[in-house]
């Protein structure tokens, strides 16, 4: 059975339906609701974004990298009234969308965690391929989560999806916490030891209700196959004691607010498909863990669709409507409850369609506001009345540095040339095929590990609080790997820039490449001044280096704005 085709068709149908209802649509709902909140709180929103602002932001959010100079120029010169809508659909349709989403959801789901024995981890490449495949097919979120929670590493189930468990050493307590945080937006950690005194919504029984789904599992390393699996027992009950009240409880698997799920009665001696031994993993006939995979990823589960809506919103707007993303409870209400409800409702009606939801958010006025402050005021971050300055994630930083310096496109150009020589008939199809695009990104990934390592925070952190620190500055100022990007080499931007004999045209190309906008008059004059005394391309490259380097170090480059 392949679940991919029906999902895909359904998504198309849903997309068609939402397009038909233009003028209504989620994005209009968002705009109306926010306008009401702004009026009530006397908040003046920023103006609409300029074309360059919108273009750069959208490329970073949907494709994970700034646009090229050529793309920038084409968009700025496009006079079609619907050009923003077209760009949204164009970027959502690119292979880079699937690859970018695979990176984003990798960090969201794994949070850069590593198992105690690093070499036991599921390879990043296999896991990212699994995710890219899911996003290329626009697999609904509930289906994706179901696969992730059901996987035990075996070939029948998505084997790479077991990374969610493996990266956490299959530790039931860590997983209980992270299942709550990542999929339901609730951090039940304090409730592990007692009812959370801060939030009446988090009960110790809720924590142990989820824990009971997971408590029978353990990590299993198959030394022969050299692979990691999940082992599970058919027995084991969960009881707990409050450290405050010494009140005791006993629980079967139960989702917060749901009913306890009783284990089926199995004949004694027939509890296992294969019983656990010292070398073999256990596979029970009845798996509580698979019950979690079955029961939790449903839009009926309280918090499930809302958490997705909140996380997609945060991906596009820099912070959640509930913030932090994993602390949804009565004392930390959403900043705009009606907007969150609208997102949740939309996702329920559209079967957790991630791409469709991102499209709606991108279409909203809120997303398309400028990051320039409205005159005389600085609205609070949770008003969403001005586009925030968001530090580029490590991946966005890496790819944007490679793009601005021309390295990314030079590399793809070479791959395309090669393809034209060897398989001319397939060129067009390959360029649209995320597998081919991914292969070519991977080649560059290997060559630029230093670049990303410099910006990557510690294991256990996600991308919601990316802040520049002094280590980044030292890297940007002094690391030889960065120097490689800002010197002339065949096919790079430096070569292109230094070939210009008209300084004004050169200035335009430099600014379109790095800031994705045309230079201001004084900026252009500065470039002209720098290069006017030079005679050869080599001289020009040398003269340009400090300028390009300085621009790459500036806040305008470092932030998604």
């Amino acid at each position: 059975m392949s679940p991919r085709i029906p999902h895909h068709l359904l998504t198309l149908l849903c997309l068609a339906a939402s397009l038909g209802a233009r003028g209504e649509g989620l994005h209009n709902q968002i705009d109306v609701l926010l306008a009401k909140d702004w009026a009530a709180a006397k908040v003046r929103p920023a103006a609409m974004s300029s074309d360059p602002e919108f273009l750069r932001r959208l490329h970073l959010d949907l494709n994970g990298v700034i646009p090229t100079a050529a793309e920038t120029r084409a968009f700025l010169e496009d006079t079609h009234p619907d050009k923003r809508v077209r760009l949204i659909d164009q970027l959502l349709g690119r292979p880079e969308y699937s690859l970018h989403m695979a990176r984003v959801f990798d960090v969201m789901l794994i949070e850069r965690r590593l198992p105690a024995v690093k070499s036991y981890d599921v390879a990043v490449a296999a896991w990212r391929t699994y995710l890219a495949e899911a996003f290329a097919a626009n697999k609904p979120w509930n289906a994706l989560v179901r696969e992730v929670l059901a996987s035990d590493g075996s070939d029948e189930l998505q084997p790479a999806a077991v990374k969610f468990y493996v990266s956490r050493d299959a530790d039931p307590h860590q997983l209980t916490r992270d299942v709550g945080r990542v999929f339901l937006g609730a951090d039940l950690q304090c409730a592990q030891c007692h009812d959370d005194p801060r939030f009446s919504d988090y009960k110790q029984a809720d924590y142990f209700g989820i824990y009971a789904f997971l408590s029978r599992m353990s990590f299993h390393r198959d030394a022969k196959l050299n692979r990691s699996f999940i082992s599970e027992k058919a027995v084991g009950d969960v009881s707990f004691t409050s450290v405050f009240t010494t009140e005791q409880g006993k629980t079967n698997p139960r989702l917060p607010g749901g009913e306890m799920i009783a284990d089926p009665m199995l004949e004694k001696g027939k509890e296992y498909v294969s019983a656990p031994t010292s070398t073999a993993r256990g596979v029970p006939v009845y798996s509580r863990r698979k019950q979690l995979a079955e029961q939790m990823p449903r839009t009926e589960t309280p918090g499930f669709a809302r958490n997705l809506g909140n996380r997609l919103w945060a991906m596009m707007l820099g912070r959640g409507l509930v913030h932090p993303l994993d602390l949804h409870h009565a004392k930390n209400p959403p900043s705009h409850p009606a907007v969150l409800s609208a997102l949740e409702q939309w996702l329920v009606e559209h079967r957790c369609d991630i791409k469709g939801c991102l499209r709606e958010i991108a279409l909203s006025r809120c997303y398309q506001l400028s990051s320039e402050l409205p005159a005389g005021s600085e609205p609070m971050a949770d008003a969403f009345a001005v586009a925030p300055l968001r530090g580029l994630t490590p991946e966005q930083m890496r790819w944007s540095l490679l793009r601005a310096s021309g390295r990314l496109d030079a590399s793809f150009m070479r791959a395309e040339e090669q393809l034209k020589k060897t398989k001319p008939a397939e060129v067009e199809a390959k360029l649209k095929d995320w597998h081919w695009v991914k292969e070519n990104y991977e080649a560059l990934e290997k060559a630029t590990t230093t670049l990303i390592a410099a910006f990557t925070p510690l294991p256990g952190t996600d991308d919601s609080k990316i802040d520049p620190v002094v280590d980044h500055a030292l890297f940007l100022l002094n690391n030889p790997k960065l120097m490689d990007l800002i010197k002339a080499a065949p096919g790079t931007a430096f070569d292109r820039w230094s070939a210009f004999t008209n300084p004004a045209a050169m200035a335009e190309d430099v600014y379109l490449s790095i800031f994705n906008r045309l230079p201001l008059a004084d900026e252009a004059a500065e470039v002209v001044k720098i290069v006017s005394a030079t005679k050869t391309a080599k001289d020009r490259a040398e003269a340009l280096q400090p300028l390009v380097w300085g621009l790459l170090l500036s806040a305008e480059f470092r932030f998604n704005h």
């Binding site: 304090c190 320039e372 600085e378 256990g460 802040d467 030292l474 100022l477 002094n478 400090p546 806040a555």
Partner: protein, 412 residues
């Protein structure tokens, strides 16, 4: 991510660096007057029963004796013989009830002085609150051995932002990339920096200031570190002094901490690992205390001799204590209900023991102290009004938990 340079190589490279601004002694003299903070963090949770609050001969007391100290009538664990001789200079709180028997939560909450997430930890908070115009060195530097325990770095600056993040110095290695790249002339570097600053000035005119200034600050910090990288060179210390501090990672980090404080870094934290003795608690505490005891006293002596202790608050804490009950592996487990914290230096009364636990050490008996109280106390000792608010873009947030208060009894 393992760095390819050994410490020795890195230092050799630094020592060979040409054209670096010398580490000016005058800078020490002028910057040393300000109040400073040193946190010695016993990560994993030291046992109060083997250290500050022994209960020898009782049900949970364990095998070690208690010894007399320089403070009349006060006894501490025999594993801290050097510390016992300087008890008259310390303030020890024996009645901490944090009720957080968890590493990750404890690490954050003990250092942030509250449970609610998103607040700056002590080092970041003090870096912000003691900041002076013209400061360029990072406000907070945290020193530790490379270790698998990522939670030692959780928390950090919270809503204060990147500028107040603890700069991590791992295994005494200076931050990477302190050297100007080869083959680039000084004029090009100057011109690069001028371009960056001009671009940021233009971007600042119409955009939110905090993130842009925060980013810009990281470049100022980078330059300051590049100019003063000699701070990290322990080779400048005599072998005798290195011996006094101890040749283990904690000793070296404490020596480096002293150098950083001397150079004017406002807040420094040294993490001492491996106190999480779920098995063989008594063996482990022998090992850990032996390292801690001598180094701690050496460090305090040095700070005092150099006239630094009067303006430097020293805090000795972990994220929790350990259970009085001894488990069947001879270990003590996580425990937050009755444990101890020690302080010395700036703003702290000398030679005082505050609060007490019951005879078995299972509960606080008098003067119970919470994590918020400790946080208020540290700030007050540093001359900071702990009842004040942070004011960030018009959003006010109490510096310390308003429901808690400073412990007057330990404040000078």
């Amino acid at each position: 991510m393992q760095t390819s340079l050994t410490r020795r190589q890195a230092i050799a490279r630094l020592a060979g660096a040409a054209g670096t601004a010398a580490f000016a002694p005058s800078a020490i003299a002028t910057s040393a007057r300000r109040k400073q903070l040193l946190v010695l963090f016993l990560s994993g949770g030291a046992s109060q029963l083997e250290t500050w609050d022994p209960k020898p001969g009782t049900k949970f007391g364990g095998p070690f004796r208690a010894i007399n100290t320089s403070l009349d009538g006060v006894r501490i664990g025999e594993l801290l013989p050097h510390t016992a001789k300087i008890m008259h200079r310390l303030a020890v709180v024996r009645s901490v009830n944090s009720n957080l028997p968890d590493h990750e939560k404890g690490h954050y909450a003990i250092q942030a002085g509250r449970l609610a997430p998103g607040y700056p930890v002590l080092g970041s908070a003090v870096a912000n609150l003691l900041e002076q115009p013209g400061d360029v060195l990072p406000g907070y530097i945290t020193l530790r051995r490379a270790g698998p325990k990522a939670y030692t770095d959780t928390g950090d600056a919270g809503f204060l932002g990147a500028k107040y993040e603890g700069v991590r110095v791992i295994d005494g290695l200076p931050p990477e990339n302190l050297m100007v790249p080869a083959g680039i002339n000084a004029a090009a570097l100057q011109s690069r920096d001028a371009v960056r600053r001009a671009a940021d000035q233009r971007f600042l005119r119409s955009h939110a200031k905090a993130p842009i200034n925060g980013y810009s600050t990281t470049f100022d910090q980078a330059r300051a570190l590049m100019q003063r990288r000699e701070i990290f060179d322990l080779q400048a210390e005599s072998p005798k002094d290195i011996e006094r501090y101890g040749r283990h990672d904690f000793g070296k980090n404490c020596m480096l901490a002293r150098r950083l404080l001397e150079a004017g870094v406002p807040c420094v934290r040294v993490v001492h690992f491996d106190w999480d003795a779920h098995q063989d608690n008594f063996y482990w505490h022998q090992m850990r205390c032996a390292e801690f005891d001598r180094t701690f006293v050496t460090l305090l002596d040095d700070l005092e001799q150099r006239g630094m202790l009067e303006h430097t608050l020293v805090v000795v804490t972990g994220e929790m204590g350990r259970t009085p009950q001894i488990n069947n592996l001879g270990g003590r487990d996580h425990w937050g209900r009755a444990w101890s914290v020690a302080m010395a230096g700036c703003g702290i009364k000398q030679g005082i023991v505050h609060g007490a636990t019951n005879d078995l050490g299972t509960e606080v008996k008098e003067h119970e102290v919470g994590i918020g109280d400790l946080f208020h106390t540290y700030l007050t000792a540093l001359g900071i009004d702990s009842s004040a608010d942070y004011d960030l873009n018009g959003q006010t947030n109490p510096i310390a938990d308003p429901a808690a208060k400073p412990i007057k009894a330990v404040l000078a």
